[in-house]
Amino acid sequence: MAPNQQPDNVAGMLNENLNENLKQFQAVFKNCADIHYRQFELKTGQQGVLIYLSGMVDTDAIDLDMTRQLIESCMTENSTSAEDSARLTENLQHTIQSKLGFTSQVNWNDDFYSSVEQILSGDYALLLDGMAQVLTINAKGLETRAIEEPATEAVIRGPRDGFQESISTNMSLIRRRLMTAQLKMEMVTIGRLTKTEIAITYLEGNAGEDLIAEVKKRIGRIQIDAILESCNIEELIEDNSLSPFPQVMVTERPDKVVGNLLEGRVGIIIDNTPFVIVVPGTFFQMLQSPEDYYQRYIIASAIRLLRLLSVVSSLLLPSLYIALTTYHHEMIPTMLLISIASSRETVPFPAVVEALVMEVAFEGLREAGVRLPRPVGQAVSIVGALVIGQAAVAAGIVSSPLVIVISMTGIASFLFPSFQLGLAFRLLRFPMMIAAATFGLYGILMLLLFMLLHMLSLQSFGTPYMTPLAPFSRGAIKDVITRANRRLMLKQGPHPSKDRS
């Protein structure tokens, strides 16, 4: 705790008087309704107190009566003398450790503030009269929800467990898939107030030494009060904060994390969020779904090609429509041109205004669907379908080909396995439409080049963003556009490739 936040009546020292110690704790935990003090008396008449935060500890693990008996069993008949007290501390720790089993970690704290921190992290603190030390017993018992199927990354075939908010559960979900000592998990605590636990996890030997060091360095230099979600960490460790593209991969799926650990990446598990960060993040990695590896490779390859097509169309479809109808009519087959022209006849706006209005409405609708409670959300989608689909066309505000284009774009943008990457493309669609409206296909090409240059210049933790396509890597290319058979991929070396231009 920072010095300026100390209450005035706290000396910060432990002494042998129980009441004084207790007063200090009470001063620190003033107005904390969830702190509990359980006073008890040993049969020798010695006073003791158990201090804990309710909800943070497992109340079944430590029973007050049992604790009292334990302490008493360690005492000799007249234990008021100083030597007895010293022997008691020794015995007590030993007995508690052996009696409470291996689940609990028991510590003697000489320092007042470190014992306060132990209590805050979910330990029992045991104070005895006549001892200038605090015994802390780890019996963390946080309320957690059950392991459920991840909401954002569902699969047809594949494991159905997803991460949840507790870091220890999340760590175990990874560990039980990688039962090897090579799997390392290093704990760090970040956040001056939140004291959020963060585990840096990697497979020793698979992940490059310099990558691990870089991750530790970037996490180590974080100075912040609060970490509430993995995005807080993401923003603090990413390479280019001006880019719309996500540079780390975020996932709720343990199998996805394990797959990436095997490829030599580093995972960052953060307490209190089901989203685990995987670095370095590359573009094509974010276009992969774990299911690509759980379906037959021919099918999976076809799905990947479909996904690539949808990536391109979610970015370009509305702008191509604008460019073609505004500047390059001749490229549209005559019959199609006639039908487009006839449906655009009554529309009073230029194609770009029409498309922008519809796109904004569509994005608004989608956002509303996310935020609203389920029952209302359905009402929104009905209103959206009716208003945008039918009424707008019937009223002559927009043309029906445009509605088709917008809905195809919408479907395409749902195919992104990574929601974050999909968001980037949703955003870039708008400048693309404006480029198409001002310079036609030429504008689209130039903005596309600009965008590609940006993406190609991005690096995530030393790995080029567009690897393995550019810079080209022959070994890894088997698993990018399509997926080769497992037998062909067995020889694949650790990926991502480093030190490439």
Binding site: E330, T334, G440, L441, M446, L449, L452, L453
Partner: protein, 363 residues
């Protein structure tokens, strides 16, 4: 920092050497034998390229520009070296003028040319600031895509039924004369002599030692590609139209018509051209900036980017009053000008000999 791989160099050189011929055609003066003229130019072109390569190989660690002061001494070498950035920026201006003349007249009739050029220059500037490495990756990424698009185009052209191989026959009915006329000096200067600007890229290639082979490979591949497209254009239009057309390759794409559904793909041809021009302009401006940096011993090359881009923009905007004059200058005046010929051919030969003799004497 600006390191590119061998694969990236290959991609850059192929795109660069094919370059704007994708739309202007190559060696059209040779009529139906133009494809033969291209192949002969390619063979001679590889010698030219190997001269440039061997100069940089004989002076390890130095960029092409720095070889002049080293081999010819301060008083003769430095002025000669200074001619190069001027040449590069002039050619960059020529390519910008290509865009200036082609894009407004084909796909964007109503848009003011300066606006089109500003967009073009902004993207180039961004590329220059990001550096050669990013551009190498872009070339590497685009080459397979361009290859696929081209393959589709060829299939579409063939299925449109416009090709007539008889147009290519009889071979050499007008003799070798007109072939030599286009091969020397236009065929050698265009594409191959212009590879001089690539010489400033070679020092950035890692691993070293693969540059000569990569350059020869790209030169031969670009030559075969150009010969193929030339042959295709002649067999589609016949000799007379091919010779007269301003943009024969553009017309070739225009000729695509499959089942009345896929028609009028000319805009894609222009886009193709824009990308090629983009990469070529980038390399020229990069070469300009790099030479200026080396000649003025500046650490940070970025300070030259904006001035160089602005000069190229103004050059491109004002260089030619109209398309006809622009193309006439490119084909009839520029290749015969003594500056071009001496900087791209004669002086490099002397430089190579001097370097070679000095190296021999030293060892």
């Amino acid at each position: 920092m600006d390191i590119i791989s061998r694969h990236q160099l290959l991609a850059i050189s192929i795109i660069y050497q094919i370059g704007t011929t994708i739309i202007f055609g190559f060696a059209a003066g040779a009529g139906k034998d133009s494809w033969l003229a291209v192949l002969i130019s390619t063979i001679l072109g590889t010698t030219v390229v190997s001269i440039y390569v061997s100069i940089t190989e004989l002076n390890p660690g130095l960029t092409y520009i720095e070889c002049y002061p080293k081999q010819f001494g301060k008083w003769l070498g430095t002025p000669l070296a200074w001619l190069h950035p001027l040449l590069f920026i002039y050619i960059a201006g020529r390519i910008v003028a290509d865009i200036h003349s082609l894009v407004p007249s084909t796909i964007l009739p109503g848009t003011p040319p300066w606006a089109i050029l500003i967009v073009f220059m902004v993207v180039i500037t961004y590329g220059l600031f990001l550096g050669l490495r990013t551009m190498g990756r872009l070339a590497e990424l685009m080459l397979p895509i361009l290859g696929i698009i081209f393959a589709v185009e060829v299939i579409l052209i063939i299925s449109s039924g416009v090709l007539d191989v008889d147009n290519l026959k009889p071979m050499l009915d007008k003799g070798w004369d007109r072939i030599w006329k286009v091969v020397w000096p236009l065929g050698i200067i265009q594409s191959y002599g212009e590879s001089l600007a690539l010489a400033l890229v070679w020092t950035s290639v890692k691993p070293k030692g693969k540059v000569p082979r990569t350059m020869l490979l790209s030169t031969v591949m670009a030559g075969i590609f150009i010969a193929f497209t030339d042959a295709m254009a002649v067999s589609a239009f016949g000799e007379e139209i091919f010779k007269r057309a301003t943009y024969p390759m553009y017309a070739l794409v225009q000729a695509i018509s499959v089942a009345d559904f896929i028609t009028q793909l000319d805009a894609t041809g222009v886009l193709y051209f824009c990308f090629m021009a983009f990469l070529k302009t980038f390399i020229y401006l990069f070469a300009t900036v790099r030479s200026l940096q080396k000649l003025t011993y500046t650490k940070n090359y970025r300070i030259y980017i904006l001035p160089v881009v602005i000069i190229a923009f103004v050059l491109g905007l004002t260089m030619a009053p109209n398309v006809i004059e622009h193309i006439a200058v490119v084909e009839k005046v520029v290749p015969y000008s003594p500056i071009y010929l001496s900087l791209m051919l004669f002086i490099p030969i002397i430089l190579m000999l001097v370097s070679w003799i000095r190296k021999k004497n030293a060892s």
